[in-house]
Symmetry: C2
Subunit: 387 residues, 2 copies
């Protein structure tokens, strides 16, 4: 017997676990004996990463190794698998939760993370969205209709011109205005100048029309300066934040959402997250990633490319994503789905029909098809009010 | 003409660019007119995200929108595409560089980021690996052979027992000992207790045999406490760090690599990064991600699953990855490739044959197949010395 196995026989006696389990659901792109072997491999790979035959007898079904809860041949060449893990294995961080759910096995072909359920003790450690759907409605004063959002673009404009666009968009009745996610701190348009100009433009429009439009600058950038950047943005008048967790890391989003001093909503952008969802036989399901993981991480609203636009999500993908944004998860508030990516004024009625009123509709470049931006916004707004 | 277009005509005159370009190479899973349309879409999507027909005439080939440099029908149904972007568009952060290279288009199907080249002005902003291959050899005193590494596992052992394993592994002649990447701060084995016990075990073995083995605890976890966690680990005797950038975010790795106070090597673990590379028609090529992006981010060594193990990388994938770890990138030092994932003592000669001597060989659980761990290590070591 190996030294590690001898240690296991003694030190496992010290491991006192609560018995609470988290459950992960996977789609395996295989069936039968192959699927059974893969399921067993997942239980080991995501926990002890140790040859099973070297684990002491009787310890295999022990508290640390994952346990197969159920397997079902779906009939399309794939297998639906449920595996449970001791809550304590996922430790105390979002990072380790993601690691247990999909860390090493992201590298194995033919495994897709479909969904997961956390026990109450784990859920209570996640604050989730600071405001959520209800809080964002309170903050913007918008009830009974979708919230309207647009983006400051195109990259290449000066801070002053972006500030003027922000003014026109807010004057036209947008509820939220975000930076285009590619606006960072470029030499031709510095972060602080942009935030100051756009926040000023939005505030001026709010004064003129008695509006409560929020301005959300993009704060994705260097990890080292993240907190200072957000503090600076808020001091310059930002009233929300845009974060790309694929670029910053998921837990950076969580850090911003849980920081007591940052009392503003966060909208999550999907940059770089596509690789997790575009693969049928691998990656993470749309609902699990955009609906649940980003919500646990604290996104008040999650941008995703809607079906029928220039991206790749199907109607079914979008439906599943939206359902996951409000699925019951303990006290974690629902987040707003934000269908985007090639949205036009012409598609608004269809979008409202499909997504309902609990949605944040984002139209970017297409608003500029109208000569007058403020009137394009009013048209967008009127499509809500007459719905 | 839209307001934004009118602004463009004036404010673009203020944009003074250096003329330096970064170049991205993509594989498109289509050919002909479809590929040409996709190439044009990439140029817009990764920069202005604005309807092309709304951009002012003559501005399309301007400084901000990406430019198609070349397209080549590869003959297998795919197209090789080179696109260049103004260096200034990628701003000042690794996050924005990744965003320009693959942010939004990660969500489009049929696009794979194959490679990229940065101009000297951009490369000089990346410190890259603190030690790199040469520095890690200096630090460990190992020349003319592969470096040997093992992992503290399995999860479930007490800090005391992991400390004893660390002692035996170091006494057996390992050059580096890392935490298993799933060891975080679990209730059954706390971070500080583990780091203290393992660092003590390695230091004691180093004293006894006059060795210079390094100990690298896993510091992936909450973003909020990242710097404190690393400081604490170093104060407890850690002499290196293990980071999973897929969990922490790429720029968190960079932050640790560039922090002057943290004068230790960093080994990067591939947890959660699999979704970027397992997809033939999407994601990021193995060399670009593990060889170049992680190197820019500061990994002194990058763990990846070797061909022939329990994961999915082919020999060609591994070859391309290894080449990218030492490809000339300005002053950015080469990093060590770390083939792992089901390595055994029996495979060592084949691994040395395939990877050469500039490699860090990682054997984890398989060392425990020998009853005596220290003698298993000596066997591992002897396979190097007689090679």
């Amino acid at each position: 017997m190996s030294a590690a196995a001898r240690f296991l026989l003694t030190s496992r006696r010290d491991v006192v676990l609560s018995g609470e389990r988290l459950v992960a659901e996977y789609r395996l792109a295989c069936t039968g004996a192959e699927a059974r072997a893969l399921a067993e491999a997942i239980c080991v790979e995501q926990t002890v990463e140790f040859p099973r035959d070297l684990l002491p007898p009787g310890d295999l079904a022990g508290p640390i190794v994952g346990a197969v809860e159920s397997m079902r041949d779906v009939g399309d060449g794939s297998t639906h698998l449920r595996v449970s893990f001791a809550a304590e294995v996922a430790g105390n961080s979002l990072s380790q939760l993601l690691n247990v759910l999909f860390g090493n096995i992201s590298i194995l072909p033919g495994i897709k993370l479909l969904d997961f359920e956390l026990p109450a003790s784990m859920l209570s450690r996640f604050r989730g969205p600071r405001l959520g759907r209800a809080g964002l409605r309170e903050r913007t004063g918008v009830f009974g209709r979708p919230l309207l959002c647009s983006a400051l673009k195109p990259m290449g404009l000066s801070a002053k011109d972006l500030g003027q666009l922000a003014y026109e968009l807010a004057l036209g009745g947008m509820d939220l205005i975000k930076d285009d996610h590619g606006l960072e701190d470029q030499a031709f348009c510095r972060f602080e100048e942009r935030v100051e100009a756009a926040a000023e433009g939005v505030a001026r429009a709010n004064d003129e029309r008695g509006g409560r439009c929020l301005y959300l600058p993009n704060v994705s950038g260097e990890a080292r300066t993240c907190l200072e950047r957000v503090q600076r943005a808020l001091s310059l008048g930002a009233t929300g934040l845009l974060v790309s967790p694929g670029l910053t890391g998921f837990d950076t989003l969580r850090q911003l959402a849980e920081e007591p001093a940052f009392d503003v909503p966060i909208v999550a952008h999907p940059a770089l997250l596509g690789s997790f969802v575009v693969h049928r036989d691998g990656g993470i399901a749309h609902g699990a990633l955009f609906g649940k993981i980003l919500r646990l991480a604290g996104a008040d609203a999650v941008i995703f490319p809607t079906y029928g636009g220039r991206f790749s999500f199907s109607e079914a993908n979008c439906r599943a994503l939206v359902e996951a944004t409000s699925e019951k998860m303990g006290e974690v508030a629902p987040s707003f789905p934000v269908p985007a990516g090639g949205m036009t004024l012409e598609r608004v009625p269809e979008m409202v029909e499909f997504y309902g009123e609990d949605v944040l509709l984002l139209i970017g470049g297409a608003l500029h098809r109208r000569t007058n931006l403020a009137s394009a916004c009013r048209e967008f707004r009127s499509l809500m009010e007459c719905h």
